[in-house]
Each structure stands twice: as C-alpha cells, then as structure tokens.
C-alpha cells in the first residue's frame, strides 16, 4: 500500500498542477524552467518542421521553479525520498545551493519542497536552513536532513482536492508575504 504522491501523481506533476491553478486563479505566476539542452543538429523534413537529431543535456545553473507572488521573487526546487526518517543530501546539487544563496543575497525568497512519499507528507523547507546543513555536510557533517528536523523547522503542506499540493498558503505564511 505504498502511495506515490497524491492521486497517483508524481511530485513534479503535482507542482505543475498547483502552478496552473495559481496562474488561472490570479494567485501567482510560477513556472518550471525547461531542461537545458544544447542542440547540435536539426533536420528540416519539410518547411514547417524542425526535427532535432543531435542534442545533449547540459548542467543547469539554477533550480527548477521560480516566479512571482505579490511582487516578491520566489525560487525553489523539489526533492523526494522513499525514506521515512531522512532526506538524503545526495538529492541536492551544488549548483542549486549556490543559486539559492545568490537568490537570498538579492532579497529573493528561496525554499525546497520536500516530499516523504512513503509517509505521504510534504513540507516547505526554507533554503537558508538547507544551505546551512549542506555547508556543514561539506565539512564532514551529516549527509542527510533528519525527518524530525524537517517536520519541526519546515511547514507541512496540507492535502487538498484542487490543487492536490497547495503549497502557496504555506509559502505565504512562512515568509509573511
């Protein structure tokens, strides 16, 4: 009886659903960034069609999501684990941490959405705390974020029907926007 996300949706799908809901209902403009790809060769089988026949994934330089809520810049990434007791840091990448440091330094709002899929629990967790844990891990500290810390320092995202992962109330209350 393992559940993978709500209503069988994956985490990214749930976030996309929420973002569409916020856009249509004039609550926020938040988009997932496209995956960066370097195109090497394109064929034109006919005049109106471009078919990419050689391309490669390139390392992103940011997180996956950003946008605007009440004029404020928000920026986040989403991570999931099947673990019930911690979120492993191997799910995170240095470029995401560096980007979120830059965002915070310029007055933006940064966070992670952390999903414990086997508990069906979702948390908003501030980037500042995650950066701190990451930096300590680089110096030999813990290689994961304990579930207990997430549930204490994060803010749980409540289940709803529509959208199923309604993270905007948690975001607005945590960051007071």
């Amino acid at each position: 009886n393992v559940r993978y996300g709500k209503r069988g949706m994956g985490l990214e799908e749930m976030i996309n659903e929420a973002n569409s809901y916020y856009l249509v209902n004039h609550l926020a403009v938040i988009h997932k960034k496209p995956t960066p790809i370097t195109v090497v060769h394109v064929d034109y089988p006919d005049r109106s069609m471009a078919k990419i026949t050689e391309a490669y994934y390139v390392q992103p330089s940011t997180t996956d999501y950003n946008g605007v809520v009440n004029g404020r810049y928000i920026d986040f990434d989403a991570k999931e684990t099947k673990n019930k007791t911690n979120m492993p840091l191997k799910n995170f990448h240095q470029h995401q941490i560096t980007h979120l440091k830059n965002v915070l330094e310029n007055g933006g709002i940064g966070f992670f959405i952390l999903a414990f899929t086997n508990l069906a629990e979702y948390y908003l967790f501030p980037a500042a705390l995650l950066i701190d844990i990451w930096d300590k891990s680089q110096l030999g500290g813990e290689k994961s974020v304990p579930y207990n810390l997430v549930s204490k320092q994060g803010i749980q995202i409540n289940s709803k029907m529509i959208p199923s992962l309604d993270y905007l109330p948690a975001l607005k209350s945590f960051f007071k926007i």
Copy 2:
C-alpha cells in the same frame, strides 16, 4: 558601416554578459530560460553519455528572462530591429504579452529591451505600454511601435565598457527599486 550590437556582440549575448556581471558582482540574479524542447528519443552510446536523437521545439509559455533585483521579481524579453523608425509588432508573440500581463497583475516588474541595431540604440520599455499597443493593434491599430515613442517613453540604456549593455541602472531608476 552598419554595426550589429556593441563590440560585434548580438543582443542576447550582450544581455547574458550583463547578467553574468550582475551575478558575480552581487547586483542581481537574472537568467535566460532554456529553450523548451520535447525529447522523444535518447541513445546511450556509453554508460556516462546521453545523446538525444529525436526532439522537437515546443512553444514557450513565458518570456526569455527573469530574476530578482532587491527582492523584486523582474521579467523581460529582448527584441531587435534593423529599422530606424519603428519596432515591428511581428517581433512579439501573444504568449509573451499574456505572460507579462500575468506578471504585472501579480506585482512583478515587466519590460522589454528594444534594440535599434542600425542606430546602436537600446531602450528599456515598460511592458504595460507595450501591452497597450499590442492590444490596440489586435483591434486594427498600428502594427509597430514608433521609434519616437520608444525614445520618449522608454529609457535609453547607456553604453559602457563592462558590461556593454548595462541595463540595470535604467531598470532601477525607471521602476524605483
């Protein structure tokens, strides 16, 4: 003696250069979004390599650039023309206009960088004005933005050595951030 951009750089290159400069100097975090591509087939010639062999461009749903300046969300696109007397509206797309309307409605800052390459003149032009002109054109109005209007209502971006298209001062003074 036609000049294409400053120091022979294209418009996008100049904006990327400025964004890198702002990032390194802790002035702003602004990135170009990757071009959205749907990947259909990937080959793995060896374990460490993914080669995309079939993919297609998809219609973007946003503008090309967004980021944070002093905590405020900013969003823009860049357009260039060789014309000396107007910027044709055919350079703009409905999805960009719609996205910028959504951004403004949610308190974000939206604008265009308009380049008259044969005049070597660059302007920051507020999205609100462009949206107004676009909406009127859809009802049979002008199909271009007159240079005179851009130079009067926009704010000219001054030439500098580094970065060559230093649009941040224009942005901060126009939107008072």
